[in-house]
Structure formats: structure tokens, C-alpha cells
Point group: C2
Chain length 647, copies 2
């Protein structure tokens, strides 16, 4: 054998050895021994136990799949849950998705996209799974597992493509096993119900550590539908910009929890990141940087992404307060020299009513607004309505929703009172500068904004939502905001009796009481050294126990409150972003958003204690699915359920 | 031309068009216009201003580089800072690192690794930089920039490779520009000083938005050294496991802030993730899962990684309390059947002194320990010392440090009193069951653990550190813990007068008062629904203003405290991980860890208000360097410095 051939041989043997005998340290090989531990289901929880030699090892995930009334399902279903305790191991490669039954091509397309995510989430169960990596389950199993097939059949009859407040989101799942074929049928009242059903089905499958494969519950049925139609999160993208990528991950997390509404507080006084084709100057002056802008094509893509995940996106363009970013530059913008190859915006004509935005950046800010920088629209300038109309047109052109959030909070009369144009206007009309007159100014603004601008922009009716504020406790508020039409989002403390007045007038309410459902609290004061304006961190226990019906029942009012059916349309946790951007976003929303989700889906009588074990397990699932959910307890508590409690 | 050639031509033209005429929407092209904004330095802060047509646009980063006494340097230097306001643009490709001047090959190797990181951090300044991606600066510039060269010369004379409490970390930087060559010399007292110098030098370079390149200050000098020798973070990896990857990122963040000590609380009662070669059973029984283990080779690699970043790693093996994970399985382990190809551990012989761990998992836990699960070493069992000695040997074999943290906190006499073996031992010696006798048990344990085991394991002297506890307020504590030798880590409230007693006895102190420097507080009670054991979130303002010398001065004591020079060796923020794992880790540490770092590096008389603008700018730099630091304020405050304040 010549020298060259010999070297080839050596190299081949060496390569062979590297592949077939990977180096493993003594320490690592020690843990190839069977685990000394197993998990046992007892009183609905799974506990770690030292096993005796004869015991079969059961992993924690397997135990959770077979243990408790709701198994590993989050949020808990509201209808019948009858599930076998037998599980069937199978290879994810043998998951057969039968052609979906759908009334239209569009629904079929949407369902197929959900199914793709469903399959991805099964692969993510493997501890060695890497995002974008190969199938980690790709190795030999025994014959039984090789031969087992799981078929999934998805059925939808209703052609509804848009999630409205009336859309039914119910579904049922039926699973049966015959021979080595497991069949799971998911039947949704609508597309939205079916996607929730597939989410639940994914939670009836778990990784099997012993066999290094997955397993599914062999037989049973789940019947389920949400108790509240509006289950939301609010995200502010004005104080700090949040990229589309991060917003899509937020929607992923919502899908895993069957939350269905993203309320997007897109602009505020800090920045104006929305790109308006009709008034691009607002964006040029108002965006933090040219990289921090949402373009129409991004938004349309995001709305469609959210739809596939069962989430409607409701935009908010807050007015007349909480503006500034951009408006103050609007009138100057005619002077800007465009560079080569850029488009010259149509000039904005300035009328005699003074600037469109008043008390912009006014100091001392606390006399004119709730936080710096100040700014409020000028309601006596016709130009304001012209520009606002263009903005609504651009905004509603890219969103596909039956509701629109008009803001309406923190209207500061002192700001208007400090503007010469506005006080001159009042004088000319022989009106004085009382609170009553300023209220009238706001009423006129709000009516015109809705009737003349929003409705005209969309061309059809559209449900307006506004923030509750001290304006809403006016005696004759129903003459300004029609209770048949407006939804009010309540965000004061749950002990604030103004809630009773609004309920009494018949308004539909979105519950967002800040003492439980404001997720950005607890990180101190961003302007000084105190605790911040909304007190401490809202723990997941507090989030979970915030039952809207109980909050109302405990209001200290003299009169009885007669709730109309559906008057509480749901709830929403808010994430204002003074102290949040993409770095802390996910850990601040999850898993507390999951606690919110179960409250709004099932509104159980029971408290967080009954949900704790399922929640900390569900949190682990979210992490496997690439959601950066914060940790609630030592892993010891996950492995020794029911033992980490003060009571 | 034949058909095939024609198709090639078409494809080539199409590819060319895609590269040279990328599609850009109308909206995007609109923002190619020159920005209407610029930044102006005024009173040491940079403020956003609408520019007039003739003004040159200055970006925020450029403004920061030229504005204020300390420019963009964090933490602020303690010596002279004299820097030009002229900046020189250059291409990062033209950064020339001259051969380092080093006394040994080892120091040269270490310096070269620091230089690599330095260069990486310059590339990261570009907004289009992607981790692991190509050089984003790779395009044409004008001739002046093309020709400008920045030379960096690093000089170290001292051969010290290990960071001890005596190591000097000082450095000086001199920059000068001649023609189109900028020369920066970094001279370190030791390797550790030089690496801090390179960190500072990287902060004298900033991205130049207008020219799409970087720029450096043209001339000047910085002289700097830290005021405290111990500037630390403590990380608990027992309550929740933290991967080596996440720990390395933590060390990266420390390097950017010149923090120099990672105190690794590696084991506790919840889990035992350290792999001991001599007593592997502890790990087999005590690790959460086989994936959640630190092997010796991982640790050695981590210690070296940290050294390059100027960080010493001090391990803690807490004893005699805060044990359990693993110990309770140790005596059973002889019964475990190893699988094929695994190593049978040497049996552990069990002596008559009862189990090595007592009151393991005892309930109700609050009678026997500070949180579940309980567990404490049995000090009257000789086997305990044998096993502990093996553990210390394994542990100190992989760490390279002149200090070792022995724990010593939360020793619960009631736990020992509940163990028949221990009370029998006391009876046999005709000792009663008073607190005094239990204290004596602990004293014996601590003395033997240090003298017989730790010192023997290392073979040389090693500075022991222990947690302050109620044991340390004993009258004769100096007979148990020699003040010449022991360092005490103080973690009670800063108003706790026991601090005065410890200072009075002459102990050196690491400051970790929990009312300011415990980073995991504020996320509620992990065992119930309250606020948690350590109250609210410690804001960065609170962290920054926690000046150890002022805390001592404000202690309400009757006697005067005479501080010895160097008696306060430094401070440390702790991150206990009951409610932390990799998901929330970085946002909980940063940027508060940066506030800690400036306090410990420079200990300024001034408060957080003077540091705020620099800190929020520094936070942005950390984010660019891939650190998930939380957001402190709206971006509006970064762009409009000094305007977000209640005062």
C-alpha cells in the first residue's frame, strides 16, 4: 500500500470513529443511567418520587398529560372534557393532516396555515429542537411506534373570515383509536373556533422522554367556547417603538392562549410611527428615526398574520389629547428641501385658526398634560379635521376590523385654555371659559371625529371604543357618546365607582382596571425615583383573580347594578411602554398574559391556587415555542407540585 | 444568438436590476430626505432640535461623543479626562492593532483575545450589523475617510494572570492625530487594567449616521482606576438552572461595565447542578435533569472566558444549611443499577452518625428553614466531612481564584434539634440543647470545613467569604471567624446596625444590602399572593444612590465607626433565581447592573440625576452589543435629554 492510500485509510477510520464514537466525558456518560426519579399523579398534581427498581419511569410531561381534570390544557375548557388516561406514542412524521373541510378557498387557505403552525409546535416539543433546524425526531423507533399513524381532520362550515364581536369561537374535538390509527377530528363553529381547537389538540400531545418521541391521548372529547368575546392585550408603540418581528411574536403568544384582540395604541405624543400616505409629514417629523416606522404593507401583512392566529387587530389613533409627535412639524414642513429622488409632499395649507396642535412640549408639563411631552389637537381649527380625516382614511385602509379605538383620554382643558386661538374662538362666540364650555368643545370634536371622519373614512358603521375618563361621569354623557354605539374601556382602579355609572347608562365595557391588568407597573418612576404612577408589579395571582363580575359585585354603590347580558364584553391587559421595549416585552407580558387569558376564556369561580400547576406547566410549553415567558417559581416547584405554598 | 445564451443574458440583466435597483416603496423613499432634526450639546446634554436649512446634521451618537465632562464613558473615570471635541471619521477596516507589548506569551494571548472583542464591538455600532454576519461597513467612502488609519497600541508590563483583591486595574489612554493617522495607546497596570482601557477606548468611538462610518475622538487622555477592588454580581443557579451560554452573556455585560467579580451560588437545597467526579451521586440525585449540569470542562472554559473579560469567578458551595438536592439520595445510591456502558460510582459507606443531611424536605417547612425544600448538613456525622472534602476538592480543582464563598447563612438550630442523631450526640457529651450549644456545633463545623477541608483541598491559603447572619452578632464571633482572614458579605437592610458591629470587629465587608442591591425583588411572592420577601423592585436610581460609605455614615449607632482603609472591599448585587431563569435574566440585571458598576468604580458624591443621560445612552450601547437590557424611559427622553424629570 502506498503512502497516499494509507493516509486516506487513516483519515477514513478517524472520521468513522468520530461519527460512531463521539467523545463523551466520563461525567456525561454517568447520566446515561436510567433516572432514579419518576412522576406520580396524585390528587390531580404530578409529584417527583424516587422510583423503586421495578417502577416504570414516567416523565413529568407524560404525567401531566394524564393527570387532573383539565390535563395540560390552558386556558381550561368551559364545556365537557372527557379524556382517556391512555396515551399512544407516535412519530411526528406520522402525523397525517387530512384535507380540510372548508366552505371556501379562503377558509381552506387560512386553515392550512394554522395546520402548518400546529405541526411546527409538535416538533418543538423535542428538547433538541432548534428554530429553523432539522426534525429532531428523525431516528429509529420500535415497530409499534413506526407503524402508528395519527390523522387529523379539521372541519369548518361557516365562511366568516373576519373576527367580530359576534363571531362564535367554539369548537369540539373528538379523538378515537382503532388499531394503530388515532383519529382526531376538530370541528370549529367558524375558522376561529377551529384554530382554537387545533391549539387545544396540540396540548393533548406531549413529548415522551423515555421513548424520545411524542404521544397523544388515545380517546375522548373536548367541547369548548369562550365566555367573553373580547380577550385582549393593548400595546403602545409610541413611547417606544416595537418592531413587527416582536409584534408577531406577541401574537404567537396570544394564539397559544386563545387571546383574540390586539389593541394597538399606535401613536401618542412621544412619537408618530404610522406612515400616512396622505400626510407623510406627520411621520417624517414624528417618527423617532426613519427605521422606526410602520408602513402600510407591513401593517397589512401583520393583520393577516394575526388573523391566522385568531387575533383581530384594533388600531387606536388617540385624539384629541396624546398627540404631538409630528403635528408640530406639520406646518413647518413646507420649508423642508427634499433630497434627490424623493417625493415632495403636498403642502399643508395653514388656516387662520392657529396651529393644529396646541401646548406642544409645554412646560411645566404637569399643568397641561399627564406626562411629557404635552400636546393636544386644536378643535377650533378646521384644518385639524381635514388632516385627521386623511389620517383615519389611511389607517382604516390598512386595518380590517369592525371596531376602532378613538382614544379620548386625558383631555386637558387647561391646555386648551392656554391657547389664544381657542380662547379667542370662545370669546367670539360669547362663550366663557368654564369647564362646561370646554366639555362642549370636546363633545363637538368627538362627534365630528366619529360622524364626519371615521364613518366617512370606512364608508360603513364601525364600533367606536373610547377610554373611560372623567369626561364620562358627566350627567349627560349619553348625549355625547351614544351607549348603543360606543364601547368604553375602563382603566381606573377596580374600586372606582364611576364604573357603576357607566354600566347604569348601558355602555358596553372592556375591563382594564389598572390595579390588576396593567402589565408595565412596578418598575419605578421613569421621571424620578418613586414607585411610579401605577404602584407595584401586578403578580400573576392578582391578574388571575381579577374576575370582572366579582369586581362589579364588590363595588361600594348605593344602588343595585343590573348588568345586561354581554354588557361586559371582555377585558384587556395594557402594556404602556414608557419602560418597555423589545428587550423586556415578552417577559413582562408572559406568563401573566396567560393568567389573563384563562380568566377571560373561562372566568372560573376558583382562584389562582387551582390553576397554578397547570400554569407553570403551560409556561414551559410557551418557552419551548420560543416565547420568552418569565419564570414564576424554582423548577423544584414544577417537579414537586403543590409543595411551594405558604398556605 | 441562440436561445440558451439569450436566457442567460436575461437572467443576468434581471439579477443586475435586483441588486442595483432594489424595490423601495414610495413611503420608504420618502425618508431618504435629509432628517429635519439635529442634535445640539448644551449644558452637557444633547437635545433634539429642528434644524434650519444651513445647519449641519449631527446625530445623537456624535453629539454624545463630544458632549459633557465624561462624554459617553460608563462608568465614569476617576482620574483626569481631557478629550478633544474634534472627531475623526474612519472605516473600521482601517483599525490597525499594533502587536501588543506584553511581558509573557500568556498575557499576549489574553490581550489578543480582548482586542478581538474590541474590534467586534466597533462593527456592532452599525445599525445593520447582525451577529455573525458580514462587515456592514463594507462600502465606498470619500477619499479622506478611505485614507484615515487608526492605530491601537496596547502595553502591559506586569505578568499577573489572575485577578486577586490586590491586583491593580488602572490604565491610561493617550490619543493623538498626525496627518491622517490617529494613534491610541492603552497602557494597563496589569492585563486587567489594559482590558478596561480597551473598553473605555471603544466608548470613545461612535457610529456616524451621516457618513455611515465610525468616528473617534482625535486627541486626549484618560487616566482611570477603580475605587473598590470587588465589584460583583451574584448568580444563583440552584433555584433555576442557567446555561453556560447565558452565563457567558452575563459576563459580556459585566465586561462592558468593568464589573470584575461573578459570585456563583452554584448549589442550594433546590438542585445540585455541579458535577462532582468524586461524588457523582450528588449530581445524579440532585440535578433537575441530566441536561441541567455543569461539567468540569464547561466550568474551566467559563473561568477562562471570564478572565479574558476581566471577571474573576468566585464559587460558593453553601453549607451547612441550604443543602438537600442530592444529599438525601446519596445514601440510597448504592442500590441504583447502572445501565450498560455507564460507570458504577464508588459506594458511599454510611456510618452510624445518622444521615448526612437532616430535616430534608421537612414540613411545615417554616419551622426548619427559610423556604422549601428544607435540608441541612449533619455536623456530627464524620461521613459528612469526608464527602464535603471531596466536593471542595472537585470544586476548587476547576476554579482559579484566591477567594471561596462558604455560605454559612440561615443555619437553623431547630432543624438540628429535630434530628435524633444530633440530640443523641449532644446528650452523650452531656451538653444540653441550648442555642449556645448549637452555636458551638456550627462553630466546630465551620472551623473544620475551612481548616481541614477547604485549605487542604487547595493546598494553599484561600480567603474564605461567608454571608452575614445572626450568627455573626455573637459576642465572641471573632474566635470562630478570624477577622484577619474572613470576608463577610452583608445582605440585610442598609439600616441594620449589625453592620456596625462587624465593622467594629475589623471584618472586611462586601456590601450587598438587600434594600438596594437585590435584583430579583418586586415580582411578587412565589409561594403565595403577597409582595414577596424583599419588597418592591429596586429601581436603577436606588441602585445608583446606594453609596456604601454614606450608608455606614447614616447608621443609627451610639459609637463612632472607624473604618480601616480598604475595609469595605466593594459590593455586589445579588440575583436569587426563585423567579428568574434565562428568559428574564438579562432584563433583570441590565441596566441596573450598570448603575451598580458606576457606584463601585467611581463612588461619586453625586446622585443618579447627574448620571441619567449617560446611563440611558450606555444602555443603548449594551443593546447594540447584544445585551437584553431593559428600557428605562421612552426613546423621547433619550432624544430630548433633561426633559423627563419630575423635578
Amino acid at each position: 500500500m502506498d503512502k497516499f492510500k494509507f493516509m486516506i485509510l487513516v483519515a477514513t477510520v478517524a472520521a468513522f470513529a468520530l461519527v460512531y464514537f463521539p467523545t463523551e466525558s466520563e461525567g456525561q456518560s454517568y447520566f446515561r443511567m436510567p433516572s432514579p426519579w419518576t412522576y406520580v399523579c396524585k390528587n390531580g398534581t404530578c409529584t417527583k418520587k424516587l422510583r423503586s427498581d421495578s417502577t416504570v419511569i414516567q416523565s413529568l410531561d407524560t404525567c401531566r398529560l394524564r393527570c387532573g381534570r383539565f390535563r395540560a390544557i390552558w386556558p381550561r375548557p368551559t364545556g365537557d372534557v372527557e379524556l382517556s388516561r391512555v396515551v399512544v406514542p407516535f412519530k411526528p412524521q406520522n402525523l397525517r393532516i387530512l384535507p380540510v373541510t372548508a366552505p371556501t378557498d379562503r377558509i381552506r387557505e387560512l386553515l392550512n396555515r394554522v395546520v402548518t403552525d400546529f405541526q411546527k409546535n409538535v416538533l418543538r416539543m423535542h428538547p433538541n429542537h432548534e428554530e429553523g433546524g432539522p426534525n429532531p425526531f428523525d431516528k429509529q423507533y420500535d415497530n409499534v411506534i413506526e407503524g402508528t399513524v395519527v390523522q387529523v381532520q379539521v372541519v369548518v362550515d361557516d365562511p366568516e373570515e373576519r373576527l367580530t364581536l359576534e363571531t362564535s369561537e367554539g369548537y369540539r374535538i373528538d379523538i378515537e383509536t382503532q388499531g394503530n390509527v388515532v383519529t382526531a377530528e376538530v370541528r370549529g363553529d367558524t375558522f376561529f373556533g377551529a384554530r382554537h381547537g387545533l391549539e387545544t389538540l396540540s396540548q393533548l400531545i406531549a413529548f415522551d422522554e423515555q421513548r424520545d418521541t411524542v404521544q397523544i391521548i388515545s380517546a375522548g372529547a373536548v367541547i369548548d367556547r369562550p365566555l367573553f368575546a373580547y380577550r385582549g392585550l393593548m400595546l403602545d408603540t409610541s413611547r417606544n417603538f416595537i418592531s413587527m418581528k416582536a409584534m408577531k411574536k406577541l401574537v404567537d403568544g396570544m394564539a397559544y392562549n386563545k387571546l383574540n384582540t390586539l389593541h394597538w395604541h399606535i401613536t401618542d405624543s412621544h412619537s408618530f410611527p404610522f406612515y400616512s400616505q396622505r400626510v407623510p409629514q406627520l411621520t417624517l417629523y414624528g417618527a423617532y428615526t426613519p427605521e422606526k416606522i410602520y408602513f402600510p404593507e407591513d401593517i397589512k401583512d401583520f393583520v393577516e398574520y394575526s388573523r391566522v392566529r385568531g387575533v383581530r387587530v384594533i388600531p387606536e389613533l388617540d385624539a384629541p389629547s396624546h398627540i404631538s409627535g409630528g403635528w408640530q412639524g406639520l406646518e413647518r414642513s413646507n420649508a423642508v428641501q427634499p433630497g434627490p429622488n424623493t417625493i415632495q409632499p403636498a403642502p399643508v395649507s395653514v388656516t387662520s385658526g392657529g396651529p393644529m396642535a396646541v401646548c406642544v412640549n409645554a412646560e411645566p408639563w404637569n399643568q397641561f398634560c399627564s406626562e411629557p411631552p404635552c400636546g393636544q389637537l386644536n378643535p377650533v381649527n378646521e384644518q385639524t379635521y381635514l388632516v385627521l380625516g386623511k389620517l383615519y382614511r389611511d389607517l382604516l385602509g390598512v386595518f380590517d376590523t369592525d371596531a376602532f379605538h378613538m382614544g379620548g383620554d386625558d383631555v386637558n382643558f387647561n391646555c386648551w385654555n392656554s391657547s389664544k386661538e381657542i380662547t379667542d374662538f370662545l370669546s367670539a362666540q360669547r362663550r366663557n371659559r368654564t369647564e362646561r364650555e370646554f366639555l362642549q368643545l370636546w363633545a363637538t370634536f368627538q362627534r365630528r371625529a366619529y360622524v364626519e371622519l371615521v364613518r366617512a373614512a370606512r364608508g360603513t358603521e364601525l364600533t367606536p371604543i373610547v377610554w373611560a375618563s372623567n369626561l364620562m361621569v358627566q350627567e349627560n354623557i349619553e348625549n355625547i357618546l351614544d351607549p348603543e354605539r360606543y364601547i368604553i374601556q375602563f382603566r381606573n382602579s377596580g374600586r372606582d365607582r364611576s364604573l357603576a355609572a357607566m354600566l347604569d347608562k348601558g355602555y358596553r365595557i372592556v375591563f382594564s382596571n389598572r390595579d390588576a391588568w396593567q402589565f408595565d407597573c412596578g418598575f419605578g418612576d421613569w421621571m424620578g425615583e418613586g414607585r411610579g404612577s401605577c404602584g407595584g408589579y401586578k403578580t400573576w395571582q392578582r391578574v388571575y383573580d381579577n374576575n370582572p363580575l366579582r369586581v362589579i359585585a364588590q363595588l361600594n354603590t348605593t344602588e343595585e347594578i343590573d348588568l345586561q347580558p354581554g354588557q361586559i364584553i371582555g377585558g384587556e391587559a395594557s402594556l404602556w411602554t414608557e419602560q418597555v421595549d423589545e428587550m423586556g416585552l415578552e417577559a413582562k407580558v408572559w406568563p401573566r398574559g396567560a393568567a389573563l387569558a384563562e380568566r377571560l376564556w373561562a372566568n372560573p369561580f376558583s382562584s389562582w391556587r387551582d390553576a397554578a400547576d397547570r400554569l407553570i406547566h403551560h409556561r414551559e410549553r410557551m418557552v419551548k415555542r420560543n416565547i420568552n415567558a418569565d419564570r414564576l417559581q424554582p423548577e423544584w416547584c414544577l417537579q414537586n407540585q403543590g409543595r411551594c405554598s405558604t398556605n
